[in-house]
């Protein structure tokens, strides 16, 4: 849910800084120690955070929380650094961007020692999912890119493997895919039944890329989407029978708008949402205190009741219950639930960070050729 807005805002980084500065100016108690400024993604995601994290924190500590709008990218942070005025205490970032920001020295180092143990005493190192602790960022939730489909398009059978996305004989009909190489290449190569742990090694060869694109080429009709609200809409309108998209968006369409779609969890590509503290934050100690509060088992479980993102803690995942408004059992909708996560793929962010330009060129060349034919 948070992700789709990002692309729109990526290009408007200067505006971001202004926004940040505006916030800086607009918050009268900035100098006070009882207000924290948090950058987050707005919309349903921020509403969920408000209910599960911000309000309970204010209630517990008396510290108020001001939320600024963040839409990804590092440009705003870079400017604030250059000007020596960092107005934010915490930023909710994707892990890949947090890694980049950390490498540029723009984030405070964070130690897992700062986190609370699970209610049963399990230390955070064992409780959090693997790779949750970066040098400067701590994963709190996990969202996924998944395939959703219209069950009524395939009477008597249902797709159960990511290879079915490419099986036009058993599951005929148009597909909607994101107009990026990411995720599509992974799924295409997975359809040859290669093991997950070898995937990026194989995609690093010309042969692997060719195989993946050959698989995509077999699809007769692809509707390429760019904005995250497109795939649920295309599915709901019956324009396509299968579509890739963000799990939060599909959940929203299914539960809040009653769209007749289902999610295929096999091959879901997971990405991490993290908390990070910028270097030069006005209240770094209070920010750490909030981070500890917001990543407790209880708070993470509550957050996942409001929005179907997987809690980064195993102890929180088992405490997730029903959606407060609709009463839907949220466990079945979060990417990290054991039933959903069995064949999940962790996106190799380091690989993408270094190869994105070349992979994009390669993908675009292929796309141009396909569209010319």
């Amino acid at each position: 849910m948070a992700r789709d807005k990002r692309s729109r805002w990526l290009a408007s980084a200067p505006k971001l800084t202004l926004l940040g500065l505006a916030l800086f100016a607009a918050v009268p108690g900035q100098a006070d120690d009882d207000t924290l400024t948090v950058l987050s993604w707005g919309g349903a995601y921020e509403r969920a955070q408000q209910a599960a994290l911000f309000s309970p924190y204010t209630a517990a500590t008396g510290t108020r929380i001001e939320v600024g709008q963040y839409d990804g990218g590092l440009e705003g942070l870079r400017r604030a650094m250059a000007e020596g005025e960092v107005p934010w205490d915490l930023i909710d970032m994707t892990r890949s961007e947090a890694m980049a920001a950390c490498a540029e020295g723009m984030l405070e180092p964070l130690s897992p020692a700062l986190l609370a143990p699970a209610p049963d005493g399990t230390p955070p190192e064992e409780d959090f999912l693997p790779d949750s602790f970066g040098r400067c960022a701590i994963t709190h939730s996990i969202f996924a890119t998944v395939v959703a489909y219209r069950p009524d398009a395939f009477p008597g059978k249902r797709p159960d493997s990511i290879a079915d996305l490419f099986d036009q004989q058993r599951f005929p009909g148009p597909r909607a895919l994101q107009r990026t190489p990411a995720v599509n290449l992974e799924w295409a190569l997975l359809s040859y039944r290669v093991p997950h742990e070898e995937l990026y090694g194989l995609l690093s060869t010309r042969r692997g890329l060719d195989l993946a694109l050959a698989r995509l080429d077999e699809l007769e009709e692809i509707r390429w989407w760019e904005a995250g609200d497109a795939p649920p809409r295309l599915l709901a309108e019956g324009e396509v029978v299968m579509a890739s998209g963000y799990n939060g968006r599909f959940f929203d369409a299914m539960v809040n708008r009653g769209a007749p779609i289902e999610i295929l969890w096999d091959g879901q590509v997971q990405e991490h949402e993290t908390w990070a503290i910028p270097r030069g934050a006005p209240h770094p100690e209070a920010a750490r205190d909030f981070l500890r509060f917001a990543t407790t088992t209880e708070r993470l479980a509550d957050l996942a009741r409001h929005i179907p993102y997987g809690p980064a803690r195993r102890s929180a995942a088992v405490l997730v219950t029903t959606h407060p408004d609709s009463g839907v059992d949220m466990r079945l909708h979060i990417p990290t639930h054991p039933l959903n996560a069995e064949r999940a793929l962790a996106k190799d962010e380091a690989w993408y960070a270094r190869t994105l330009g070349r992979i994009h060129d390669y993908f675009r060349t292929w796309l141009a050729r396909r569209e010319a034919e």
Binding site: E198, L202, T205, T355
Partner: protein, 587 residues
Amino acid sequence: MDTLPARPASGRGPLAVVRFLGLVLLGALVGAVAALAAVAFVSAVLVLNELLLISPRSRMMFDHPGLLLAATIAVPALGGLVVGQLHRTIPERRPHAPADVIAAVQTRRGRLPARAGGISALSALISLGTGASVGQYGPLVHLGATLGSLGARLLRLGRSDDNITIACGVAAAIATAFNAPLAGIVFAHEVVLRHYALRAFAPVAAAALVGYVIATSVLERGALFHVADTAVPRPWEFVAFLAIGGLGALVAGAYMHAILGVTRLAGTLPLAPPLRPVLAGALLGITALWVPDILGMGQETLRFATIAGAFGSAELLLVLMLKIAATGLCLGMGFSGGVFSPALVIGTLFGALCGSLVGQVSGAPQETFVFYAVCGMVAVTSPVIGAPLTSLLIVFELTGSYALTTAALASVTLASPIAAQLFGRSLFDIQLERRGLDLSAGRGRAVLRTTPVTEYLTDDCVTLHPRTPVAEAVTALCRARHGEGYLVDGRGRYLGCVGLADLEAAREAVTGPARVGEVATLARPVLQPDTSLWDAMAELQDVTGEALPVVDPAADDAFQGVVFESSIARAYLAHSDELRREEHGTG
């Protein structure tokens, strides 16, 4: 039956049970250490491959084409330089390998040298890390065996137990590396021990089990190949699998002879041995600029070869030939590493080639393609390592597919015997034979062949100067209660053997010779210091007498003493008895 002095019975009783359980425990311990070493080794190779731009992932992530090109040539060459220097510190000037393990166990010598083993593991790590086209399983097996032997030595155990702990290390290494405990157990028996004894089975099984448990909890890796559950080959395809087996034996032969041939040629190169791997590394890197599939162990190539359509037929043939050449070059010129991983790649490429040709001819859809790839794989690997059962079990344990194992069985049925007839039991056996250890007639002969007869040398004999009067000689022999005397001149040279009967006859005869040197000598074969027990036994077939003289031709035929025929026979029986105990004893 036992004609030997009775030794303390070790077969029955509570003490023997405790001792046996101790051995099983030791096996598990050796297994744990060997498995952890294997895990560390495998991880270190992966890390090196990432850092040194060998793995496709790191090559893709490195965005400087010029530097990448330079690194592709420089990394293997520099790796070769380091490996060459390391091998200078090993007494044999070559890395130790599974063949040395087999030799140590088959001759019951045991006692694998720890230092040479450690250096060999290090040089293999560098070879694999810098992208040489060699395997990782051989070094793992040797490392496990060395650790097992070290354990036995630290506990001051006997040779039999030393052999068992070696086998434990081997089994654990295979069980860990392939995540296949049964294959580990069978490999240790099939390739290293070469006999089946309950006494060895339990410790080896314990070691393999511990290795497997460690592997599943530490190493995360995909199965070597995957099969769609629905595909079952049609009956006629089994004929194709058999044929792949027959042809695969020839591919295996070509592969083995590429390695042996380059090894031979390398000896004639006007290049110091430590510098040969540098040349090999540079050549490998230059070729890899066009065909990067030949770099390193070839994990990705192996995977693509099981996917229909990933390679064209001509491409399969090209990569197959280049991989054989690259592996021959690397191993023959002195890189350290195994022969199994490249054989896996070569075999799978060969199987894929057969599969795509069959597909073109029959026009059938290629859902059984992976069967061909796997058949080719076992057809090439099992002759190379001389282990058909292990190859089958690896397939079975990695896939859990009975259909695939049956297809592999069809292929192995022809591959192993054909290759054994044409080339030898395995590459290890061929290498050992070239070093003078012939294992083709089994352990019994190998043990006797490597036991020098001088172990039974005695100076309890009568030596006579040729000018000794006959009567004096008769008296000397009678006093010493010997029937034969040995003529040795003033400079210690052996001249012949005279019998008491002949001397007596000469003394009785009126006109007979007066000096010993004039008496006719007996026809008596002569042993040399390096004559083996086996050869001495063969000499005995045509002799009736007391003892055989040992003469050193290197020291001007110096007489060194004699070996009694009875000690040769006794030694022969003692060795046979030890083998019998080891192979048929229970505890």
